[in-house]
């Protein structure tokens, strides 16, 4: 057993994104449930004491809402598909220009199951991101980001810290409601606190970005105006291309041009911005997080799981079980084994230091 320390946040994110990519490749409810269970098990085994480590449960709840919405929307507005009609809701005949949209009509078991599978897939992706948020500190993630992203400083900070800040803010709003003697459960409490939570989370993220800015994050150095503009343009191009490329990589149905070519364009543009800025050497890092054996184990475990899904897909295993006609989903053994490998971080990642241990070590150091 390794000594308690924080794992490199990049390793956790890589592992979680790999699991999310697995989820995007399948609609098999058995595999999706297993992915959620794997993520949950690792989170419970290796999370810290900090407030945002409770965010996994919040993401699970959000996922449940997503599933319910998906099914209800299918019943009300979904495309009508043939199959076993369970019940019918009143049908509105729409004018011919609204062809293709249906409002009401027969609800088939097949359409409900398809909606359930798709909702579960989205819920699983949410759970994976919840796992990443619970497992690592957003501040450490910001520190570990490559220098080129500093140009997009505020946007990156908000993107990475909004979810954990929202968890912290929702906790505070609930506590405030309880202190005022109001209920903190139920739909009314939820709707009353939604706006303050969103506002608070954004405020905190922007405040963090501002404080980082004032400490030199995203500082432009001695570059001239034209140099600066060029590097900002390249960063923008690179980020857009990277976004498209990662979308293409995650979605198996995307056209081929959106995959590796887009990623390559993004990387080239980002490297170009580094060169154009000419200030890659100006930064130093205080106590950088190491990337050693546990980091390798965690990230490789995620990648192996993803590879097992790609392999199972190539072998023709039922990653997307048919819902029309409805069939009992098969369980691809390769994919299950890959997901079991993804549980390895629960044992091989170093346990995070507890708050008590941190304060003791600080006391010793002092």
């Amino acid at each position: 057993m390794t000594a308690p320390r924080m794992l490199h946040p990049g390793a956790w994110w890589l592992w979680a994104v790999a699991l999310a990519a697995c989820a995007l490749r399948t609609t098999n409810p058995v595999l999706l449930s297993l992915i959620i269970a794997v993520a949950g098990w690792v989170v419970v085994s290796r999370r810290t004491d900090v407030p945002w480590s409770r965010s996994f449960a919040s993401f699970l709840r959000l996922g449940l809402i997503v599933v319910v919405f998906r099914v209800v929307f299918q019943i009300l507005f979904g495309v009508r598909v043939p199959g076993t009609t369970l019940f019918s809701i009143p049908e509105v005949t729409l004018p011919s220009w609204a062809a293709g949209v249906s409002l009401g009509g027969p609800v088939t078991l097949e359409s409900l199951m398809a909606a359930l599978y798709q909702g579960l897939r989205l819920a699983t992706v949410l759970a994976c991101f919840g796992a990443a948020t619970s497992l690592c500190s957003p501040y450490r993630m910001l520190r570990a980001l490559p220098t080129v992203l500093y140009e997009a400083g505020v946007a990156v900070t908000v993107a990475f810290t909004f979810a954990p800040q929202a968890i912290v803010a929702s906790r505070q709003v609930r506590e405030a409601r309880r202190l005022r003697g109001r209920s903190d459960r139920g739909l009314r409490a939820w709707s009353a606190s939604a706006l303050p939570v969103l506002e608070g989370a954004l405020d905190r993220a922007v405040a963090l970005a501002a404080s980082m800015d004032s400490r030199g994050y995203g500082r432009r150095g001695g570059a001239s105006v034209s140099q600066r503009r060029r590097s900002v343009g390249l960063v923008l191009l690179g980020l857009v291309a990277l976004t498209i490329g990662s979308y293409g990589l995650l979605d198996p149905a995307a056209p081929a041009a959106f995959r590796l070519p887009a990623l390559a364009v993004g990387v080239i543009a980002l490297v170009g911005s580094l060169v154009a800025g000419g200030r890659s050497a100006e930064r130093t890092r205080y106590r950088p997080d190491p990337w050693v054996k546990p980091e390798w184990i965690v990230s490789v475990a995620g990648i192996v799981a993803f590879a097992s899904f790609v392999f199972a897909d190539r072998m023709g295993d039922a990653l997307n079980p048919s819902t029309n006609p409805l069939e009992v989903p098969a369980v691809p053994v390769v994919a299950v084994l890959g997901l079991l490998i993804a549980t390895l971080p629960a044992w091989f990642a170093p346990p995070p230091p507890t708050l008590a241990a941190v304060s003791t070590s600080m006391a010793v150091a002092a």
């Binding site: 297993l34 949950g40 043939p82 076993t84 027969p106 409805l326």
Partner: protein
Amino acid sequence: MGVIALAGLIVTTSGRAEASSCSGPLSGGEIRVVVVVDSSDLGGGASATCLVVPAGTTGSQLLARRSAELGTGSVRYGSSGLLCAIDGLPAAGCGDHNAGGFDYWGYFIGRSGSWVFGNINPFTRRLSDGDIEGWRYVRGGTGSAQDPAPRIVPSQSLFPSLRPGEPAFVEQPAAASGTVPSLSSSMTIDVSPEQTFDSLDVASIATTTLEPIAVEGVALASSRTSDSNLGRWFAIAAVFVLIAMMTGGAWIQTRRSQ
């Protein structure tokens, strides 16, 4: 239960003989519709089939009905509900990418005398008397009105003429040069892929009692071997035991840490 009476007048050698009342009197709540299926691009042919169905039948029920009457195998749907194959064509694949477009079964509506691209869901489109439905397998199509329509032109002459005394449809000039025997009760016109309309095969089909179409999907699902289903259930149970163990372990860990 519907009783299918084999009392038809057989005109072609290849025709399947089932009796129909497509040229006979309609009882209350029945309508006459023609469904055109053009699989020429897949090596099949183009055919027009007249069917008597209950009023309110949907486009997809009509297809299922046609397959049942002609005995050409049930219609295959994808998991999204997309129609993949009619008459077993194509044997595999469903709306796949091809040459910048898609290979798919295009849906057309032809009441007006020319085909209109049907951007309507056949599962909800309710047919009325005299409707003509068209399906054509399109290669590399864009999924829009520019895609080619079935090769048989929709016209009321696709309906066999009624016996004297029956209300007839307004006849429109027939585009197909073939003549339709007026005494056949129902018919199937087969056109070869080369689009020759001279050789019309006319089959006669007769059904005495009609019933709403049973769901095809259920029959398909249950026709899979039950052995493999049992194995699948065991595999699912095993995975869920695993999930239960993880969830239980996680719950115990959470309790202990609090």
